[in-house]
């Protein structure tokens, strides 16, 4: 082999090492969580509340809070995100300035740090909308403080770009032929949208929703400022209640535990649950996407 070929083999081999390193890191992180948390994982752990200053018991309230939070977020973000994507891909005229501005805005929104979304939630939802609602409702402090609704709406704004981008891509994969066929049969634009385009885009829209849920469920910085609580004896009773959350629970247990050694197994088990949740969601999204791509190309 010539020296040039040897060098080629060497360097391309090194790029392979980088990939192996990344796979290794992923395995170490997962392995770490599994090794540390596996033994504590049980039905009881998932279904009971923390006890004795988080050194015993389970994570049910955090699991519940995360679920309700992401559900509310999804209800808020999906219609807005999907309609925005419909506007961009179906209604905006080609070369539209306005649509171009929307696209730039969405791109920039995706790059805004999550902690800034927290500040935004605090400044807009809590301080602006909430305080005005309280004033209108008679002055009692209820909405003018961090809580479940404001946290979920903050996350909805944060995940908006995820939904818009995924939906727009899904709409674009519906062949133009099918649109022409529908219009040529005398369907109106909205009939074509509802009966031909959207049904074809369902897998892609679903992928977007799942990715948004995965992202929303794991974000801690925004809810830190808009409603997550360290410990609550009761489950949230209203949309204005504070709530517990898996990610925030992890943060608190990792950094503020009174008894580190007693907390450690619970902490690992919590991380394991959070990771399992995120990975499952993402794997489902990956599978749906690759299936629908295969269908589209066949």
């Amino acid at each position: 082999m010539s020296p040039r070929q040897t060098r080629s083999k060497l360097f391309s081999g090194l790029t392979g090492v980088a990939v192996a390193l990344l796979v290794g890191i992923l395995l170490v992180i997962v392995g770490d969580a599994v090794r540390g948390g596996w033994t504590r994982l049980s039905w009881e752990f998932l279904s009971t509340a923390p006890q004795e200053g988080m050194t015993a018991g389970g994570i049910f309230p955090a699991l519940w809070g995360t679920t309700v939070l992401t559900l509310l977020m999804t209800i808020a973000v999906m219609p807005v995100g999907v309609i925005t994507a419909i506007y961009l891909s179906e209604y905006a005229p080609e070369g539209s300035r306005l649509a171009a501005v929307v696209r730039v805005a969405v791109q920039n929104l995706a790059g805004v740090p999550s902690v800034v979304f927290g500040l935004f939630g605090l400044g807009f939802f809590v301080r602006f909308v909430g305080e005005r609602m309280d004033a209108a409702l008679g002055g009692e402090l209820k909405w003018g403080q961090p809580g479940l609704l404001w946290a979920s709406l903050t996350l909805a704004v944060l995940t908006l770009p995820v939904v818009i981008v995924a939906t727009e891509e899904a709409l674009r994969t519906v062949p133009a032929d099918l649109r022409s066929a529908s219009l040529a049969l005398g369907a109106t634009k909205s009939q074509t949208l509802w009966r031909v385009v959207l049904p074809g885009a369902v897998p892609g829209i679903l992928t977007g929703a799942i990715l948004a849920v995965s992202r929303g469920a794991g974000e801690v910085a925004p809810i830190l400022l808009t409603g997550a609580a360290y410990y609550l004896p009761d489950l949230p009773r209203s949309l204005s209640s504070q709530f517990m959350h898996l990610g925030y629970h992890t943060y608190v247990m990792a950094t503020q535990s009174p008894d580190v050694d007693a907390t450690r197994p619970l902490l690992y088990a919590t991380v394991l649950v959070l990771l399992a949740l995120t990975f499952t969601l993402n794997l489902v999204a990956i599978v749906i996407r690759s299936r629908s791509r295969k269908l589209a190309s066949s």
Binding site: R4, R7, S8, F11, S12, L14, T15, G16, A18, V19, L22, V23, I25, I29, P79, I83, T84, Y87, Y91, A92, L98, A99, V101, V102, R103, A105, V106, G111, V112, P113, S114, V115, V116, G118, L119, F120, L122, G123, F124, R127, F128, V157, L160, I164, G218, V220, A221, L224, L225, G247, T250, Y251, A254, T255, L267, V271, L274, T278, N282, L283
Partner: protein
């Protein structure tokens, strides 16, 4: 009518960005106007610390005389971000080259989901990993004086930004037409020479954009630094010192401030700076991505 409603909702993206500027800006207004207790001078210029000592930079927001210098936080953010970039960029670019140039098709189809999984790890989990595992390993390996430092936070943050850099860079590399590669190989270049001298330069603006986006992500990353940097707001260039970043300051202190006070406004002002920084970086990256696509004959 329907079309009008759809268009109105379609403006949500613009509305979101505007609302963020307006309502984060509104809380930071006392700082921007300079009519509160703190202004640009207290935040960025040296201030008297103790009687008899030269003026300096200090972040100590709670106390009789709050000291609110941005300098330790800016420096801390820069330190952690630089560590993350120095580690993440070579690894991410190498992995992107491997995926686009050297990996067999099957492997490539497998690698992308793996990177997606890596990207999906919540940053609080990476912070936890840094705190529980990485910190101890780094301390014993590098012989550091303390467990938590800019170095540990930067290493953990590298894991968070590798997927960002990888994804954008890989897209840019894949966009390079096959004819470039065939031309180079037909001239007797080795696969590595083709990748390094033909494909990478052709995709350069996109690869640069990938790095800029990674940088933006690192500056705003919060939970990892909050958990792994040690959070001491000191002016120091050493990577092994405990460090406090802008983002972590917001997250750590927002829970304890008085609604509407000076400290409160300063925290929102820090948020505004983060927003402006990432916006600028995004804009730069966007311009470079468009340039790559135009250069390679695609459409932006």
């Amino acid at each position: 009518m329907i079309a009008l409603t759809i268009q109105a909702v379609g403006l949500s993206g613009i509305a979101a960005v505007l609302l963020i500027v307006i309502f984060v800006g509104r809380e930071a207004l006392p700082i921007l106007r300079g009519d509160g207790e703190a202004g640009f001078d207290t935040l960025f210029l040296p201030q008297p610390l103790r009687p008899g000592k030269p003026p300096g930079f200090m972040w100590q927001p709670v106390g009789e005389v709050p000291k609110l210098s941005m300098i330790p936080l800016l420096l801390g953010t820069l330190k952690v971000t630089l560590v993350a970039m120095v580690v993440a960029v070579p690894v991410a670019l190498a992995a992107a080259l491997f995926t686009s140039e050297f990996a067999p098709r099957r492997l490539r189809e497998l690698l992308k989901p793996v990177i997606e999984l890596l990207a999906s790890i919540p940053s609080v989990v990476l912070g936890f990993f840094a705190l529980m595992t990485l910190a101890g390993w780094a301390q014993s390996t590098f012989g550091l004086p303390s467990r938590l430092s800019a170095l540990v936070a930067g290493l953990a943050m590298a894991i968070a930004i590798v997927p960002v850099v990888f994804t954008v860079a890989e897209d840019a590399l894949t966009a390079v037409p096959r004819s470039y590669r065939e031309a180079s190989l037909a001239l007797g270049a080795t696969p590595w020479e083709t990748a390094w001298r033909v494909v990478l330069p052709a995709a350069a603006p996109g690869v640069f954009a990938a790095c800029v986006l990674g940088f933006g992500r690192a500056i705003g990353e919060t939970m990892i630094v909050l958990m792994a940097s040690g959070n001491a707001a000191i002016v120091s260039l050493s990577l092994s010192d405990s460090t406090r970043t802008m983002s972590a300051t917001i997250a750590a202190e927002m829970g304890e401030v008085v609604f509407g006070g000076t400290h409160w406004s300063v925290l929102f002002f820090i948020g505004l700076q983060l927003f402006a920084l990432t916006l600028a970086l995004n804009w730069v990256a966007g311009a470079f991505v468009r340039r790559t696509l135009r250069r390679l004959g695609g459409t932006a």
